[in-house]
């Protein structure tokens, strides 16, 4: 059977790992599975960092060639999503991230490359992300964004 893939999220100073997570909603608290319209991030503030990774289990020989990028959707003016991969875990913050400092790539050619998981079951490298909303951002919903994680398995 193919490897079983699940999204995982880490939270808290002591790193509590939740597997699987139903969503990875950005919000103003450090917790998994946030619901909207609660936990809003308002103009001039940042969300708490999201520390995600992929959990791979089941029968596989190797997982490799991971790529992660934002493959669809346009962000409004003064709104950005910062991202980085493979940094060691640190307590999520809502101050400007010192880890996720670059705009998330929007093409596969420039995709981030999370570290491959080891033998089953195992986790990929971390994908740290933060939603940053400038003070001049307009209120309202952000258009739909699509994110892609691609990998090879045997």
């Amino acid at each position: 059977m193919p490897a079983t893939f699940e999204w995982a999220e880490s939270n808290g100073a002591a790193e509590t790992v939740t597997v699987p997570v139903a969503n990875a909603n950005f919000g103003n608290v450090d917790a998994p599975n946030l619901t909207t319209p609660n936990n809003r991030v308002v103009a001039g503030q940042n969300s708490y960092e999201k520390w995600l990774c992929g959990r791979f289990s089941g029968t596989y020989t190797a997982i490799s060639n991971l790529k992660c990028w934002k493959s669809g959707g346009v962000l409004p003016a003064n709104v950005s999503i910062k991202a980085a991969v493979n940094a060691p875990y640190s307590t999520p913050v809502s101050t400007p991230s010192a880890v996720a400092t670059a705009d998330i790539p929007t093409a596969e050619a420039s995709a981030l490359v999370p570290a491959s998981p080891g033998a089953s079951p195992s986790f990929s490298g971390y994908i740290a992300m933060q939603l940053q909303i400038g003070a001049a951002a307009s209120p309202g919903a952000i258009p739909t964004q699509t994110y892609t994680l691609k990998y090879d398995e045997v």
Partner: protein, 145 residues
């Protein structure tokens, strides 16, 4: 959920190794077992259990064939047929794309898709690596890459 495309390895000593030992796909062999005997591998096949299409990689002669039911057409052998004096090494992997979408937030596990990549590679006289690869979907769409 059962796999639509499953592999079958044929070795030079005549032995066969099926990905699954049973139709219910409850007893599976790891691909590592093929890699462990790669020097003895003669043919590697992907079988589409829904359509009956078989994708063969002949590692003795550097050939790829696609055999479809009710058809005598084999393809795309002409494009990839190789020299039997070379040593052909199997390429096989599944490329999985996981997507998630959201607006103010991100939803996970929104959808996924998979393509199978099958073929071989060899070292040319100038030292370069030459790859011949098919991209195969569960719907039997085939692309020569």
């Amino acid at each position: 959920m059962k796999l639509v495309l499953v592999w079958l390895a044929m070795f030079r000593d005549g032995t066969l190794l099926h990905q699954f030992d049973d139709e219910g796909q409850t007893r599976e062999h790891r691909f590592q077992e093929v890699l462990d005997r790669q020097d003895m591998l003669r043919t590697f096949c992907l079988l589409n259990l829904q359509t009956g299409t078989v994708y063969h990689v002949d590692l003795e002669h550097g050939r790829i064939r696609v055999s479809r039911p009710c058809s005598r057409v084999t393809e795309p052998e002409a494009e990839v047929e190789g020299d039997p004096s070379r040593r052909y090494r199997l390429i096989y992997f599944r490329r999985v794309t996981q997507r998630m979408t959201g607006d103010r937030y991100i939803k996970c596990a929104e959808g996924s898709s998979t393509s199978n990549f099958l073929g071989f590679q060899y070292t040319a006289p100038d030292g370069s690596t030459v790859r011949r690869l098919l991209q195969i979907t569960a719907d039997d769409e085939v692309y020569l890459t």
